[in-house]
């Protein structure tokens, strides 16, 4: 039963984390380079711009779901199972999602990097 809870939480983490990452990346690209905004208009301009981006809150909500699934999973499985297993699969899911929804140009270099990292993380779960 411990294993079932651990893997159920891993599946939930992957779904929620990918949704959250894509929404956050989309929102922050709309906000723009925060380093530049800081230099020209200061910290409050950044906060204001972020607060006026609705998709940001959806992203945070998805991240919160992922976070509580992680707490739930960590209470059942080992740090060295739950973190690598969910992270490895989230990597592949994120690469595909970034290509589809964010139109990032995922070239050969980034595919190799994503797959190397995912494979490495999966190996660490063995």
């Amino acid at each position: 039963m411990n294993n079932f809870y651990a893997w159920a939480s891993i599946a939930l983490i992957i779904l929620a984390a990918t949704t959250g990452d894509v929404l956050l990346a989309y929102s922050m690209k709309r906000v723009g380079d925060v380093g530049d905004i800081w230099k020209t208009s200061g910290l409050f301009a950044i906060v204001g711009k972020i607060l006026s981006t609705p998709t940001f809150f959806l992203g945070v909500l998805a991240m919160a779901v992922a976070f509580y699934s992680l707490l739930f999973g960590l209470s059942w499985g080992n740090l060295s199972l739950v973190v690598p297993a969910s992270a490895s699969l989230t990597f592949v899911a994120n690469t595909i999602a970034a290509r589809i929804f964010l139109h990032e140009r995922v070239g050969r270099r980034r595919w190799i990097a994503a797959l190397l990292v995912a494979a490495g993380v999966a190996l660490m779960a063995l």
Binding site: N2, Y5, D21, V22, L24, A25, Y26, M28, K29, R30, V31, G32, D33, V34, G35, D36, I50, M63, F67, Y68, L70, L71, F72, L74, S75, W76, N78, L79, S80, V83, P84, A87, F91, N94, T95, A98, R99, F101, L102, H103, E104, R105, V106, G107, R109, R110, I112, A113, A114, L115, L116, V117, A119, G120, V121, A122, L123, M124, A125, L126
Partner: protein, 155 residues
């Protein structure tokens, strides 16, 4: 990519690792949470390890969102994945978990992936600029000098 931007990426890596490790420490103390005592999750934040872990994860979140404002998701994720290597190291030093040869192989793969992506550009242009999802002008990629060109310019 400036030095400050690399610092932000390093912050993403370190804050997420330490945050996760402290959370794990705290949740071990609390024991298994199941659907029957779900309210246990709400009180988990009262545990000091968990609350410090959450503060570190907030620092992670701030550096992560600022990295996403100037770099692609498919760049930031692999570039900060050394955190999984750090998790293993902390698991070994702090929790006395064993690192098998297969895990060392995994660590080598991750390090290779990090090297691969960080040698490339951090931002790519939108594939369909007309789709409404394209980047605002200030986020458009500037051609980055290759590592070799930078070294030549510095010498």
């Amino acid at each position: 990519m400036t030095f400050r931007k690399y610092l932000v990426l390093a912050g993403v890596t370190i804050f997420s690792t330490l945050g996760d490790a402290l959370l794990a420490r705290g949740m071990k103390e609390l024991g298994g949470v199941s659907l029957h005592n779900f309210s246990g999750l709400l009180f988990a934040i009262l545990n000091p390890w968990v609350s410090v872990g959450i503060i570190l994860l907030l620092a992670f979140f701030a550096s992560y969102t600022s990295a996403l404002s100037w770099a692609d998701l498919t760049y930031v994720l692999p570039a900060t994945s050394l955190s999984y290597v750090l998790v293993a190291v902390i698991g070994r030093l702090g929790f006395h978990e064993e690192i098998s040869p297969i895990r060392w192989l995994g660590i080598a793969c991750i390090a290779g992936g990090v090297g691969f992506v960080s040698a490339g550009p951090s931002v790519t242009p939108a594939r369909h600029p007309q789709s409404g999802l394209d980047y605002p002008n200030h986020a458009r990629p500037q051609p980055e000098p290759s590592a070799a060109a930078t070294r030549k310019a510095n010498s």
